[in-house]
């Protein structure tokens, strides 16, 4: 299995608070991705990174920011969480023409 972990695995937070989710890989892959998964919408790309300090927006980037200061870590930040950001968040890395997904983070914004 690809070495990819996410933390925390579950989080409950209040509207308006900042939240940071962490994705860590041990595969030294260049590309990393953040998705959110909601019923009826499948997996939607939030942001992705193609190298240290190199990031780009995905389909649903509003309200999210990312940072990648090291190859192994990709952080997703919700500056001011809203209830519409309640979702399951998956991180993925890309290698050999396939994406490997982390275990996911279930985020609930009250």
């Amino acid at each position: 299995d690809a070495g990819i972990t996410q933390s925390p695995r579950h989080k409950v937070t209040e509207t308006g608070t900042p939240v940071t989710l962490r994705c860590h890989q041990t595969e030294n892959h260049r590309y990393m991705y953040w998705y959110r998964q909601d019923p009826g919408h499948g997996l939607r790309l939030i942001h992705y990174s193609y190298g240290v300090k190199d990031t780009d927006k995905g389909e649903v980037s509003d309200g999210y920011s990312v940072s990648r200061s090291k190859t192994e870590d990709f952080l997703l930040t919700l500056e001011s969480a809203t209830s519409s950001q309640t979702s399951v968040y998956f991180c993925a890395i890309s290698g050999n023409n396939e994406q490997f997904f982390g275990p996911g983070t279930r985020l609930t914004v009250l």
Partner: protein
């Protein structure tokens, strides 16, 4: 831009066959197929590249019609373990550093 998958849901008995379709409005470089079981992360099944041949994985195979920007996933002689949600992910020509996923097809196989 999100590819359209059909059907949205399929119910099968063990041993029956199913076809899941994925259609994009954009010119594609490749199509990826993933399966996700409840409460788990999606898992890669196969990739079909532009100009490539049909691929297979156990009793699961797929095709890619480049002219129609469509892909189909074929599940033959289904097993209980095939249950889950299937997603196609598309790489658009000119933007091949990311996947755009469809909304998924839920497959349930009963004994």
């Amino acid at each position: 831009q999100q590819p359209v998958q059909s059907p949205q849901a399929v119910i099968l008995r063990e041993g029956e066959d199913a076809v899941i379709n994925c259609s994009s409005s954009k010119a594609l470089y490749s199509v990826h197929w993933y399966r996700q079981k409840h409460g788990e992360a999606p898992v890669f099944l196969m990739i079909l590249l532009k100009g490539g041949e049909q691929k297979g994985h156990e009793k699961i195979s797929a095709s890619f019609n480049e002219k129609k920007q469509q892909s189909s996933l074929y599940l033959t002689a289904s097993q209980l373990s095939y249950s889950g949600t299937y997603f196609c992910g598309t790489e658009i020509l000119g933007a091949t550093d990311k996947l755009i996923f469809g909304t998924g097809t839920r497959l349930q196989v009963f004994p």
